[in-house]
């Protein structure tokens, strides 16, 4: 009791008016006015106990503190003579956690509430439901794809061209990266990033990554497709090469339209590293496909995104128009040349040499390109007209353009037919001979509108018109040449009508007389 002091709050400092503070010296006591704690005892109900009494003797000069240890007696007949129950009079000091009792303490006190009684009411420990094992998680665009331990990683160059393995793959973000990794042939079986296991080891939550196909690339660059595609091939040192090293990984993730991942497959390109090579270039790609759809690249979801190619397609042969519109599906091809493309200008600006390279029409980007044509007298007109048409429109000009960025091939009504117009510049000449016409310009006008809600409008193509302007080719005297400019252009026009405001309906007054209002008379 002599050591207990309730008012001693400051450590190693004297508290004011605290007579029991051991940090106070005699000079401090002389400055006190009263004792804030005059008596320190145990439980007052005890029959007899020791008590410490502190008081200030103000008569003396300087005032000094008096400390007395007395026996305090409780005269009541119901005073506690003895007790065999430790916690009755003293606070139980808490158990210090040790490695042995930590789990038990955590179980007892780890929750939001705990009872002071010993646990006697954990009668039914089996009542807890086991947590859902297949909790499918839904992803949003751009959210990193989670695996068991971390995220699905797509190695990519970060600051320099060296591969960094910490780049997580975002959901629905199709990425293709190339980076350089430093290797050494001696340690090639210990470098993790060169083995197939590193890329298929972590399973995407409930879905395992399967090996879709393996392509083996030889030292001189020739690639062969392996027929036994799901055998795991680990890198090993053979002769002076390190074979089965991963040179490229292509992930294909299939998801539902709810955003849950249901399938994951990886296609590998394995190659051999020669002894002199200090670094290799690895390429990685990830693509997301919605289940039950063709893996056609979409240009928006659902409205077109500026900068993505305008999707186009053909009606398959043999379907009678228009009855087949309801049943037919459009033949789409991922071949770049049968998409909506325009002529791409080259440095030579020669139309006949420019065949082959075409630029895809990107939504929202007005483009103009052209070339020059040297006409000599010896050229045949019809042949020239056909060649120029090919140059302007490409090998196969599509017939339909997708109205939305993600229009499926089987929704034929979602596709807009391309209207083709032919304008001929009839040069007024006195010779009204039916001279041949050669197309000199192609203008594609795409009319689009904003569709949907005002806060998130989606771009939708409404109308596509391809206008081919032809002009008459005048017969040249032999030996002379002419240079004709050929142009092609794409224009996107926004024809969205302005948003119409709508007003809330005015409140109507609803008055009805009671049924028996005119009682005595009706």
């Amino acid at each position: 009791v002599a050591r207990l002091c309730v008012c001693d709050l400051l450590v190693a400092q004297c508290d004011a008016n605290c007579c029991c503070d051991p940090d106070c010296s005699a000079e401090d006591f002389s400055l006190f006015t009263t004792c804030s704690v005059p008596l320190v005892t145990g439980d007052s109900r005890l029959c007899s106990q020791k008590a410490a009494v502190y008081s200030l003797d103000v008569e003396a000069n300087p005032p000094e503190r008096i400390f007395k240890l007395i026996d305090q007696v409780n005269p009541s007949i119901f005073c506690i003579h003895a007790t065999n129950y430790k916690q009755a009079l003293y606070l139980k000091s808490p158990e210090i956690p040790t490695p042995e009792n930590f789990d038990q303490l955590l179980e007892k006190f780890g929750g939001a509430t705990f009872s002071a009684e010993p646990d006697s009411w954990n009668l039914d420990p089996d009542a807890k439901d086991p947590p859902e094992a297949n909790e499918t998680s839904r992803y949003e665009y751009g959210v990193p794809v989670q695996t068991e331990d971390a995220f699905l990683r797509l190695p990519s160059p970060v600051v320099s061209s060296w591969c960094s393995d910490a780049n997580p793959a975002g959901f629905l973000v199709n990425q293709a990266t190339k980076c350089i990794r430093s290797v050494s042939v001696e340690k090639c079986d210990s470098i993790q990033a060169l083995s197939m296991l590193f890329y298929i080891n972590s399973s995407i939550l409930a879905v395992n990554i399967t090996v879709q196909s393996i392509v083996v690339q030889s030292v001189n660059g020739m690639r062969t497709f392996l027929s036994t595609g799901d055998v795991l091939r680990l890198p090993m040192v053979l002769d002076e090469l390190c074979i089965n090293a991963v040179l490229g990984v292509n992930y294909h993730i299939t998801h539902t339209d709810n955003g849950e991942i249901i399938e994951a497959a990886a296609a590998f390109v394995l190659g051999a590293i020669s002894r002199e090579a200090l670094s290799i270039e690895q390429s990685f790609e990830i693509s997301f496909t919605q289940e039950n759809t063709q893996p056609v690249p979409v240009s928006g979801n659902p409205g077109y995104v500026v900068g993505l190619p305008v999707r186009a397609g053909f009606q398959p042969q043999g379907y009678p128009f228009p009855a087949a519109l309801l049943f037919a599906a459009l033949a789409l091809s991922s071949n770049k040349h049968s998409q909506l493309t325009i002529l791409q200008s080259t440095s030579t600006q020669d139309c006949l040499a420019a065949q082959g390279t075409r630029a895809p029409v990107l939504f929202g980007y007005n483009m103009i390109s052209g070339c020059t044509l040297r006409i000599t007298a010896a050229m045949k007109c019809q042949l020239l007209a056909q060649t120029l048409l090919d140059v302007l429109t490409g090998q196969s000009f599509p017939e339909y353009v997708a109205s939305f960025g993600n229009s499926q091939a089987h929704d034929v009504l979602d596709w807009v037919p391309i209207t083709q117009l032919h304008i001929s510049e009839q040069m007024i000449s006195h010779t009204l001979q039916s001279s041949c016409q050669i197309p000199v310009s192609l203008g594609i006008e795409v009319k689009w509108t904003k569709y949907g809600s005002l806060v998130n409008p989606q771009a939708r193509i409404v109308n596509v018109t391809a206008t081919i302007t032809s002009s008459t080719l005048k017969q040249l005297p032999s030996g002379r040449e002419r240079i004709i400019p050929i142009t092609s252009s794409v224009v996107f026009t926004d024809i969205s009508s302005p948003a119409e405001p709508s007003y809330k309906a005015w409140p109507t007054i609803n008055i009805k007389l009671p049924f028996d209002f005119f009682y005595p008379f009706v």
Binding site: C47, F78, C79, H81, A82, N84, Y85, A88, E117, P118
Partner: protein, 135 residues
């Protein structure tokens, strides 16, 4: 007539007083246990043994007193001996209530001390009576 009477009068008086005192003791101790359980922190694991001991003592007391009366009046040593044995048990329980109860109040000490001294005196008289009956 005194010479042929072996029954001990002091034992009879003591047993009679013991019976009355025991009723008082039982009621007061029970009341105090109820009071202690309200005023102090008295968890169930500690309350149960105390109450059990008290009731056990009450159950023992009835045959003990009856056998004591009967043995003394019929001057038979067997009931008196049995009563003596039961007294030993009662003494143990009384000592428990005096020393090893959860809360021993000053009143508990007084009551149990008086009861113990009564038991002691009784035992002394019973032994004397048995000795007188045997011989």
């Amino acid at each position: 007539n005194n010479s042929s009477q072996l029954s001990s009068l002091p034992l009879h008086i003591l047993l009679y007083v013991n019976g009355i005192y025991y009723i008082f003791y039982f009621l007061v101790t029970l009341a105090m246990i109820i009071y202690k359980s309200q005023v102090f922190s008295y968890p169930d694991d500690f309350l149960a043994p105390d109450l059990a001991v008290l009731f056990l003592m009450a159950i023992l007391e009835v045959p003990r007193l009856y056998l004591g009366f009967k043995g003394n009046l019929t001057e038979a040593e067997a009931p008196l001996g049995l009563s003596l044995g039961l007294t030993v048990g009662s003494v143990v329980l009384c000592v428990y209530l005096l020393l090893w109860q959860t809360y021993v109040l000053w009143a508990d000490v007084l009551l149990n001390a008086v009861l113990l001294s009564a038991y002691g005196l009784e035992s002394g008289f019973k032994v004397t009576a048995i000795a007188a009956f045997i011989s």
